[in-house]
Symmetry: C2
Subunit: 416 residues, 2 copies
């Protein structure tokens, strides 16, 4: 493996429960293929630009630590939100990166992330091609949003879907226990900015022991305030426990997010920006004011993407496999590509993998197909369930120490 | 067991992850002791007054269903918030209850709940004694708030503590992954109205792999806005990830809850009542406005008490045992008592059980002792950890079906 030299791995964008499994996959395959040094970028490309590296071998020569890594949520290496400049705007950044890659004899960089991260991979691969650089750049998909194109689904999504479906089911149990006398309208807010994949996962709660949410408001369908209130009233006239799920990304026909309807005072941060969440809180206020019904607000917040104790085994295994495949492909000479999943079989579910030209992927968003959404726009149908159910199957039991899931942490993260 | 006749079980107050294990314990012991019919009150004493009963034997003659019951969050029988009137104010209620008890040949009523529920047990036991009624009344403690007196701890607390500590640890991982350039102040809100037991459980997150929260604001210590802001600024000047935990019950010296500081418009419900949560949201707003620091708000909401997928095995086993003991004690002739836990040993932890006069328990609240709180009032010390750690030990693995924890549900709850 002398030809390729060492490798480096970075993580970027919002953390998930599965992104660490992907870097575990890259690491394990790298060692199998004889890569000598595996470096990590501390806080992604932004940290790398300041030469913040960690020696992954010092952590993962012991196999138990790789198991812990698969069970540790968020980004072990630290994350960043860094927008790569175009070479013509700031070539210095590129020169710095390639100088550092040469300095550490790094032949391939792996970057795990979502849309923006794939853009970084694309720009670095293009620059390398244009300037005759030998380094390879591979993308490993990661996003709870599940909105990358081409790939059937994204590592991270299965785990957040399992967390959402479980949490909604548990919240429904709680809500049902009251309400004999007076209905309670519980509004649950999920993440998901432009695509409704996360909110839709709440539909998975439906089963023999659960009626599932009464309505799911998705970004894919225009939100109408009056229709929403009418729906709530109709539901509350029929049942004592009403459960509504709303994506933080649900918006009106004019493009405003629900949370933007709140009074300015309530939802503007220190810099005058509207916050990106608060849809459920606003709708609870509105329902209370307009109908007098008792409401409850549950904003699942970062718990949903950090909840690795509820990770889907399918998701973790696929995330690991995606990392391994990226490493193998780079070893075989690929660059400027991302690993994608293909759906090779249903019943039993079979997931295949390929690598794919990053240019087709970066900066494109995939939404829920309209024909996976019920006609009234207030739920997803069997097509979605068939798609999503296999992704939440199986559990990866945490390793418990002193009653809590044990994680592995990088000391450089605290020192940087 | 003909002497005692049939029994009835009810649940009341806020649901927990362990209250169903208690009724499972009553049920299992009742069958062992030869009780013929075990009835359940649908929606507690309030439903019983309308003769809403369920036949628990129809659900639990199959032992797998008792296992599911131990793993089902919230109140299987439905809950209520019903304040028993005094006999002199409304004797009709008492006559109705005893008429129904006679009608179904019920010799003992078991009521699982917190403070208000124990008050119900007390009033019924007193009425029975004064009027020469043969029925017995036993309390089974249940409250995530852990604020019942006399007992070392309450069933339900260990599970919420495990959920809080795990969630705070996971949120910290997420928060740490960013923040290399700019600190992020994450404020996590827990339940707990007058006692800080739930918020304090966040301190259990501290360990070899976790620094634990930077400060915990408890109801036991007066909250000062200026001191809070100064503390946040100090922390943010030293570290990039700041984690603050705040109990919804934390209040100022003048008695106002933190959420009451928010502008009226934001936190008043349809009936003009201030909502009981929103402390974290308010403090995030405040920190943003006063310091310009980036903030994140995590309100754990009902997820914390409904999260049976993260239940503590110790808690579930003890809740089951408490139910069994209540049944045994009633069988032995006790009435007007609640099961309490005693701490019989540390290292190894040993939990004993007794029954105790309900008059000493009802309407008394237990707070965290001041000497379990650090001198600056911003955390709990080793005494709390030693107390709480054993309560979160062990896990009760959910029974997964189609990728989600399976629950058991009572059909009468949907029909009532």
């Amino acid at each position: 493996m002398g030809k390729m030299g060492n490798i480096i791995i970075g993580q970027s964008g919002g953390p998930t429960a599965a992104i660490n499994a992907s870097i575990a996959g890259v690491y394990a395959k790298a060692k199998e293929l004889g890569v000598e040094h595996v470096y990590g970028m501390v806080h992604g490309i932004e940290g790398f630009l300041e030469e913040k590296l960690c020696d992954m071998d010092s952590y993962f020569s012991d196999a138990i630590n790789l198991e812990l890594l698969k069970r540790t949520p968020s980004a072990f290496l630290g994350s960043c939100r860094y927008k790569m400049p175009k070479p013509q705007d700031n070539e210095e950044v590129y020169e710095k990166i390639f100088t550092l890659l040469d300095k550490y004899n790094i032949g391939c960089m792996f970057y795990a992330g979502g849309n923006d991260s794939m853009d970084t991979v694309k720009m670095l691969a293009d620059y390398a091609a244009e300037h005759g650089k030998k380094q390879r750049f591979m993308g490993v998909p990661k996003t709870i949003d599940n909105d990358l194109p081409i790939t059937d689904h994204c590592p991270g999504y299965g785990s957040v879907a399992k967390f959402i479906a479980t949490s909604v089911k548990e919240v429904m149990r709680d809500n049902e226990s009251f309400g004999a006398k007076k209905p309670i309208v519980c509004i649950v807010e999920t993440m998901g900015r432009n695509a409704g994949w996360i909110a839709a996962a709440a539909a998975l709660a439906k089963g023999e022991d659960c009626q599932g949410p009464d309505a799911i408001y998705l970004p894919e369908v225009d939100f109408e305030v009056d229709a929403f209130l009418a729906k709530v009233k109709e539901l509350a006239s029929k049942k004592s426990s009403v459960i509504i799920v709303v994506s933080e990304g649900a918006k009106l026909a004019d493009g405003r997010y629900i949370c933007e309807l709140a009074s300015d005072d309530a939802w503007v941060d220190a810099f005058g920006h509207k916050t990106t969440s608060g849809a459920a809180a606003y709708l609870c206020q509105l329902v209370g004011k307009e109908t007098g019904l008792k409401t409850r607000c549950v904003e699942i917040s970062v718990l949903q993407r950090a909840g690795s104790h509820m990770a889907s085994l399918t998701d973790i295994n696929e995330a690991f496999a995606a990392g391994s495949m990226a490493m193998q492909a780079a070893f075989d000479g690929h660059t400027g590509e991302m690993v994608i999943f293909t759906r090779d079989g249903e019943n039993p579910y079979e997931c295949g993998m390929q690598t794919y030209d990053i240019h087709e992927i970066a900066n494109v968003e995939k939404k829920i197909p309209r024909d996976w959404i019920t006609e009234d726009g207030l739920n997803v149908n069997e097509k979605f369930i068939q798609y999503a159910r296999p992704l939440i199957m199986g559990e990866l039991t945490p390793i418990y120490v002193d009653g809590l899931p044990r994680h592995i942490v990088m000391k450089e993260l605290y020192e940087s």
